[in-house]
């Protein structure tokens, strides 16, 4: 019951954020200098054509009315037509989003399962060499531009060692279409194609590493500091006095409350992760939404760009909602307090 209330509160908050986001996007799309109709038609179109399109798009109506129209379109899930691909933006995003989703998912998984143990290790050996090594790695990971790391990985793994493919999502000749969930790894498992599953991971690995570095560093640092905080609590001292075995204390009493800060950070970091995906997808020719976004921006394809921004925002909000629920599940105290109260 209490948990349900907590979830309802978070969902309402998310809706508020999405409402704000829609206004921001509307401002970018309509209220900024620059005429969307002129952008859509290009510099060669005549003044009449522009006026006609302005009327068609409702650009001559008052701003508030335009916003309502725009929201109606959004509510129906209509993102308009792409000028680059000449298809509805919805179709383009539906086609490209799963690839981005799969990349982000594997990135977060790797970042979490590397970052948390590194943080635990650092906190166990506080101020000794493992701590310093973890600190060094996480700072380095945080300051390495993701496109630089991506190129570096391509050179090392692709050209020097020849162990991993450097571009794309699957080899062209493998004869496999991810038509169930859109996630190649999941579809491969569902269809029992274990060879495809392994091959998909070989392709996923480099982009994921390039994308996860900064997040992993953050997670390691936060886990370290929250483990140290927790270890000075009275109940940990008490458990030591009662002779609770070390592994139980470490994993049950210390690690569980220490999960909360890294989870929260991961939610906030998620925005910059999506941002970096734009760069990483481009470098690895990953057929995702971010790469689509970059291509459409360079073509000044306004509808497509807005679609990509909206979907990125919704993606962020949904991920944070899931993380909030997870945090509430891991740490019962949060449900009562409310995370951002």
């Amino acid at each position: 019951m209490e948990f349900t209330l907590f979830l309802i509160r978070r969902i309402l908050w998310s809706l508020l954020v999405l409402f704000g986001l829609s206004i921001v996007i509307f401002v970018i799309a309509r209220a900024m200098p620059g005429d969307p109709a002129r952008l859509a038609l290009g510099p060669r179109a005549s003044a009449e054509q522009v006026t006609q399109l302005r009327e068609e798009l409702g650009l001559n109506k008052p701003l508030v009315q335009q916003y309502v129209l725009y929201m109606e379109g959004l509510a129906e899930g209509d993102l308009g037509k792409s000028l680059l691909t000449r298809r509805p933006v919805n179709d383009d995003i539906r086609e490209t989003f799963p690839a981005t989703f799969e990349l982000v998912l594997s990135t977060i998984t790797i970042a979490f399962f590397l970052g948390v143990p590194l943080g635990v290790l650092a906190s166990r050996f506080k101020d000794r060499w493992p701590d310093n090594a973890v600190r060094f790695v996480s700072i380095l990971a945080a300051v390495t531009p993701s496109f630089f790391l991506a190129l570096l990985l391509q050179i090392l793994a692709g050209y020097v060692l020849h162990i991993l493919p450097t571009t794309g999502r699957l080899p062209h000749n493998i004869g496999f279409v991810a038509d169930m969930t859109g996630l190649v790894t999941v579809d491969a498992l569902l269809r029992g194609r274990f060879d495809v599953f392994l091959e998909a991971w070989r392709y996923l690995l480099l982009p994921s590493i390039a994308l996860m570095a900064a997040t992993m560093g953050q997670i390691a640092r936060i886990t370290r500091s929250s483990m140290i905080d927790v270890s000075s609590q009275d109940y940990i001292e008490a458990s030591r006095a009662f002779g609770v075995p070390e592994p139980v204390r470490l994993f049950k009493y210390m690690l569980r409350p220490s999960f909360v800060p890294p989870l929260t950070i991961m939610g906030l970091e998620f925005a910059s992760l999506i941002g970096n995906a734009f760069v990483v997808e481009l470098v690895f020719a990953w057929p995702g939404m971010a790469a689509y976004g970059v291509r459409t921006i360079l073509q000044k394809d306004l509808n497509a760009v807005m679609g990509v921004v909206i979907v990125s925002g919704v993606f962020f909000v949904v991920v944070n909602l899931v993380i909030d629920a997870l945090v509430g599940f891991v740490d019962p105290r949060v449900r009562i307090r409310g995370r951002r109260a």
């Binding site: 799309a29 900024m32 620059g34 380095l140 531009p145 050179i155 050209y159 929260t264 925005a271 394809d301």
Partner: protein
């Protein structure tokens, strides 16, 4: 109570506060490395025309006889596809990165701080509106926002800076907001209020000085991250337009010649890394110095 004096302060009883801080800072090797990198980068950017071996290569010079040369004594970082010295262009490229950080944070930090003070001190609608606004801003990646703005306006450095600054202030608002909340319940604020001090005085003379060190730490760390976002934008072709040297643009241009001519993309990429690392180490050092808690 004289027996609970901070041992570090007791070590240096007669020295001024600033000197004590400097002394503690100088004993932290990574912080000093960070400060040295930052100072050197700023000096190099300012005096770029005088210290680079081929200052004319910062412009649209072509020199096909020397194209794609690997790093050597004559060309420290090698040459690019039209034969320009990459070392010279990297040093000039620092100018763009540092200007970007200066302009973005120069607008975002003061604005964010003022909004944080206001939201933290006044309750009710003011607080709600400002803080919900920061929630919205968190949901938009700065890079994506800059891309969207670039799609509507023309892709150039000014618009990118505007777009990044338009989101970045919210981080400082959140920081100053939470600090103001804590400080305003303390007795000296109550005392000032009782004495009839103006709101302006309380916000800027009583509360703000207590936030300055935390703001300084965050700003230093942010410099590195703003530079990274800016570099990503120019890598995507939305930075300053050629022939002005820009580190991100150079990486993108050089990546076409991988892996044979690796130096053309790796050298400028490495320069971005070192610059961001400098600001990060400096910020970390300041954090240790002022004992500021990890704030998000």
């Amino acid at each position: 109570m004289s027996d609970v004096v901070n041992p570090k302060a007791a070590e240096l009883p007669r020295l001024s506060n600033a000197y004590q801080n400097w002394y503690r800072f100088s004993r932290n090797p990574t912080a000093v490395i960070g400060a040295v990198i930052v100072v050197l980068a700023i000096l190099a950017a300012i005096f770029a025309p005088y210290i680079t071996p081929y200052p004319q290569h910062a412009g649209a010079v072509v020199n096909f006889r020397f194209r794609h040369l690997p790093p050597s004594g004559t060309f420290w970082f090698g040459t690019d596809d039209v034969g320009r010295d990459i070392f010279t262009r990297v040093i000039f490229g620092l100018r763009v990165s540092l200007t970007l950080a200066l302009v973005v944070l120069g607008t975002a930090v003061p604005f964010g701080t003022i909004m944080g003070l206001i939201a933290g001190y006044f309750d009710g609608w003011t607080e709600t509106i400002i803080m919900r606004l920061t929630d919205v801003a968190l949901a938009i990646p700065p890079l994506v926002m800059a891309l969207a703005v670039a799609a509507v306006l023309s892709p150039d450095l000014t618009h990118s800076m505007l777009a990044i600054a338009a989101l970045w202030w919210t981080w400082h608002t959140r920081l100053v907001y939470s600090m103001t909340r804590q400080i305003r319940s303390q007795e000296f604020i109550e005392a000032a209020e009782t004495l009839g001090a103006s709101k302006f005085h309380i916000l800027f003379r009583e509360i703000l000085p207590n936030c300055i060190s935390a703001i300084a730490v965050k700003t230093s760390l942010d410099c590195g991250f703003v530079i990274l976002v800016g570099a990503s934008l120019s890598f995507l072709g939305l930075g300053i337009q050629p022939p002005t040297p820009d580190l991100g643009t150079m990486v993108a241009a050089g990546s076409a010649f991988l892996p044979e001519h690796w130096w053309e993309s790796m050298m400028p990429g490495f320069a971005i890394l070192v610059l961001a690392l400098g600001f990060n180490l400096l910020g970390d050092g300041l954090r240790d110095l002022y004992d500021v808690q990890e704030v998000k």
